[in-house]
């Protein structure tokens, strides 16, 4: 498997003067998967992508991209991939259409039908000059150029920033089409709903290292499920079961978090006491994400996020129960 990885990074270190932007980063992306790359601003997502693009030189570690060396074989590898940055800058006096054609021709040609179809789907006006496009429209120009390219890999660094929800939907469709055609995607994003919808696997980066990687199911398994239950009998003792955290008892209602591998034991205990209503929610990606960053500011932050998540879920109780 490892020999076939589209991206394989081990122990990558990149420093800028005294700042260690990447500190032993490991990342593996398998062919045909959409890989989510999560982390807050400054965690090292863009630096990683720029090393993969051969724009930055690594200080240590090994990096393989499409079985090649992204630094030495940059140009030939680039013909097999496309990249969309989070903040697209266009030539001020070239129109969007000219920029799309130029970038396509530099790769060796662009399919006019594909180009026309993408421009229509994104509702892009290709006759405007780069300087007069809004943020979202600049993003669309780069997306059209990227999806029009005939490539194996897409490196997307917060590609949908500034897009309206309809165009975000278009983007989601295009990524799914690309995957259906056998393509691989590395998607760095802040929009967790987008990642949750699209990604097969996720890597979470923090301070230049990957702190968690796996399928969403794997990641969920490592964390806690939230349970909101109203019992027929007394809830006494529920909060002392192994793996149960943050239990709040109000009369016969219990809200708590349970480690996912202890869920079965908790459900057994609840069943004995008689369940009237039950809402059982797997952790959202947002919770996974916040849990990793929550302990950066101490445990309190983690608890707060738990409460917030509970509040959100309250609205869905009727429906689920």
């Amino acid at each position: 498997m490892s020999g076939e990885s589209v991206i394989e990074i081990e122990g990558l270190v990149k420093t800028f003067g005294p700042v260690r932007a990447l500190d032993g980063l490991d990342l593996k992306v398998a062919p045909g998967e959409v890989h989510g790359f999560l982390g807050p601003n400054g965690a090292g997502k863009s630096t990683t992508i720029r090393v993969l693009l051969g724009l930055l030189r690594k200080d240590a570690g090994s990096v393989s991209l499409l079985q090649g060396d992204p630094w030495r074989e940059a140009a030939s590898l680039h013909r097999r991939l496309a990249y969309v940055p989070g903040d697209v800058s266009l030539w001020p006096n070239l129109t969007g259409g000219e920029a799309i054609d130029l970038l396509g021709r530099l790769r060796g040609g662009i399919d006019p039908a594909r180009r026309a179809d993408l421009i229509e789907r994104f509702e892009l006006d290709p006759t405007k000059r780069g300087r007069s496009y809004s943020k979202g429209n600049r993003q669309k120009v780069a997306l059209v150029a990227a999806f029009a390219a005939d490539v194996e890999l897409l490196l997307l660094d917060e590609p949908t920033s500034g897009l309206d929800p309809l165009k975000e939907e278009t983007f989601t469709e295009l990524v799914e089409e690309f995957r259906a055609g056998g393509g691989t995607v590395l998607l760095s994003s802040h929009i967790l709903a987008e990642v949750e919808k699209l990604c097969d696997r996720v890597s979470i980066i923090r301070a230049g290292r990957i702190v968690e990687a796996g399928t969403l199911t794997d990641l969920r398994h490592l964390t806690r499920t939230s349970v909101d239950v109203t019992l027929g009998g007394s809830p006494a003792g529920i909060d002392e079961l192994p793996g149960v955290h943050d239990a709040v008892v109000e009369g016969q209602r219990v809200r708590c978090q349970v480690e996912t591998d202890q869920l079965d034991a908790l459900l057994g205990a609840l069943h004995q006491r008689g369940v009237r209503t039950l809402v059982c929610q797997p952790p959202t990606l947002e919770e996974l994400f916040l849990r990793h960053y929550g302990d950066e500011t101490g445990d309190e932050a983690g608890d707060e996020t738990g409460d917030q998540a509970d509040g959100q879920r309250g609205a869905e109780v009727g429906e689920t129960a």
């Binding site: 990249y83 940055p85 800058s89 001020p92 070239l94 259409g97 021709r105």
Partner: protein, 536 residues
């Protein structure tokens, strides 16, 4: 009035941002007047020599077209004003255009204007604050100019010394008023288009038209000069029967411009222009096919502009024709200063020096063109091109090719312009070969400076400005090297110092090839270093 609230607050911010820029423009203008005035005393030892030069200048139509109506050229003040006023009026016009542009249209284009307007700022405050900033800038420039002229003292046998105080003050005040008129026209231009570049284009055309109208009027019956703010300024006749009333014409002109700008502003939305932005081509033309095509597209405007600029500069030198000998007089200092010490063949010496000057100007293009890749990198356009599969070396080589070919074109345009000017004045077509073509010898030192720029780009892109320091050094060595008694080894660091003063001295292929080899080495080293460094 609430429409103006916040104007002074904005003005304070503008002046803080502009203070250095205003200072440099003002010093430049003051230096032009001051040095032109000072040069007379050095160039001409006696009034008789001065009269001879004045008589030859008065009849030269090319000079009148370039500078203005010839008045009182046998006085130091008259000469200084004649030689400086049109040039400095253009200087004040350019300064005004940039001050107005950066505080109005550029702010709107970047969206910063919206942020400002969301505060407690009156509707007309940004407009008025920008104009006030330009007024302040022009007043400072005018005062500096007057101060420069007032500082001209010293004993001189020439007529008109010491300069009359009122005329010196009027030269400064009139220049400020002229600049304020151009501020108002720039403010009108800022209402017209959405793009700052186009606004500068329009304001620049207005400035150019003012210069041309003036030239046409000065050569003819004078009517067209009255359509030009530069003509209004020169109509004050400092040092030749000073009159103040044209000042009122200029102030009325500025007020009309301001009124028009306010009217236009009231008819448009913030962020848009009166002229709607035209759509561009939806697909790319054939020239945008490679990174070389892109490099040419990006630098095209600058190559054309510099080529025209050098051609006009060359034309200006050449149009002095063979009257140079009368102008220079007999003093040893003058021969040194303008003809590289070539007293035996003054004409060849003079045009040899002119060619070096043109080459130094061309070096300005070569350095800015070699620095263009840095701008592309900073704007993250470079990564888009690289990620589309273009190797780094190919991309940089595309820009290199444009720089080298562009430098050749710019340099040659200067030489041919000079030849054309000379031929037009004297009817001697051989001037192209004798005074025009030799400029090509300077391709090597000019490219050496561009090679240095490329080396800096590869090794230390943040220190790109050092290339301009190197050009400044070459200028100092050339113009003042002997006066300052700089040691030989230091002078020989300038690539221009290695070259013979063609056509006064014989062209020599050895130093040409040597300097060209250094240029290639520097450039190649920069290219190698660029392959190995981080982008961004």
């Amino acid at each position: 009035m609430s429409g103006l609230s916040g104007s002074l607050l904005l003005l304070r911010g503008h002046l803080r941002r502009d203070r250095w820029m205003i200072l440099w423009w003002s010093l430049a203008s003051a230096a032009v007047f001051w040095s032109q005035g000072g040069a007379m005393a050095n160039l001409y030892a006696t009034q008789a020599e001065f009269d001879k030069a004045a008589a030859s200048l008065e009849g030269n139509a090319a000079f009148i077209a370039m500078l203005g109506p010839a008045r009182a050229l046998d006085t130091v003040g008259g000469q200084a004003f004649w030689q400086s006023s049109a040039f400095c009026a253009v200087l004040a016009g350019l300064m005004s255009m940039f001050v107005i542009g950066r505080h109005t249209r550029a702010e709107e284009e970047s969206g910063r204007d919206e942020l400002v307007r969301s505060g407690a700022i009156g509707r007309y405050a940004p407009l008025v604050a920008a104009l006030l900033a330009a007024v302040v800038a022009n007043v400072v420039l005018g005062l500096a100019t007057a101060a420069g002229l007032l500082a001209l003292r010293g004993d001189s046998p020439l007529r008109g010394m010491p300069l009359p105080v009122a005329d010196s003050v009027a030269s400064g005040v009139g220049l400020a008023a002229c600049g304020i008129v151009f501020s108002a026209t720039a403010l009108v231009a800022a209402q017209l288009t959405q793009s700052t570049r186009t606004m500068y284009g329009i304001a620049g055309i207005v400035l150019g038209a003012a210069y041309l109208l003036r030239a046409v009027g000065d050569l003819g019956n004078g009517v067209a000069s009255w359509l030009s703010p530069i003509g209004w300024y020169q109509a004050m006749h400092p040092y030749s029967g000073l009159r103040w009333w044209p000042l009122a014409v200029m102030l009325v002109g500025a007020a009309v411009g301001l009124g028009l700008a306010v009217l236009l502003f009231g008819r448009r939305d913030v962020g848009s222009g009166i002229l709607a932005a035209r759509p561009g081509p939806p697909t790319a033309g054939r020239s945008l096919h490679s990174s070389l095509g892109l490099a040419w597209r990006l630098q095209r405007g600058s190559v054309i502009g510099w080529t025209l600029g050098l051609a006009v500069s060359g034309l200006a030198y050449g149009s002095m024709g063979d009257s140079v000998e009368d102008l220079v007089g007999d003093s040893g200092f003058a021969v040194d200063a303008v003809a590289g010490g070539q007293a035996d063949n003054l004409l060849d010496g003079f045009y040899g020096t002119a060619l070096v000057m043109l080459a130094l100007l061309a070096a300005g293009f070569a350095i800015s063109s070699a620095g263009r890749p840095r701008a592309e990198e900073e704007a993250t356009h470079l990564e888009s091109v690289l990620v589309a599969g273009v190797p780094r070396q190919t991309w940089l080589a595309g820009h290199l090719l444009v720089t080298v070919a562009g430098t050749f074109a710019v340099l040659l345009a200067g030489g041919l312009g000079l030849g054309a000017g000379y031929a037009a004045m004297t009817g001697d077509l051989d001037a192209f070969r004798r005074y025009g073509v030799p400029v090509v010898a300077y391709l090597a030192p000019v490219l050496a400076l561009s090679g240095l720029t490329r080396l800096l780009y590869g090794v230390a892109p943040r220190r790109l400005w050092l290339a301009w320091v190197a050009l400044g050094f070459c200028v100092v060595v050339l113009m003042f090297g002997d006066v300052l008694e700089l040691p030989d080894w230091m002078q020989s660091l300038s690539p221009f110092h290695q070259m013979p003063l063609v056509p006064a001295e014989e062209f020599d292929i050895t130093p040409f090839l040597l300097v060209a080899a250094v240029a290639a080495l520097l450039s190649g080293a920069g290219q190698m270093a660029f392959r190995r460094r981080d982008i961004g």
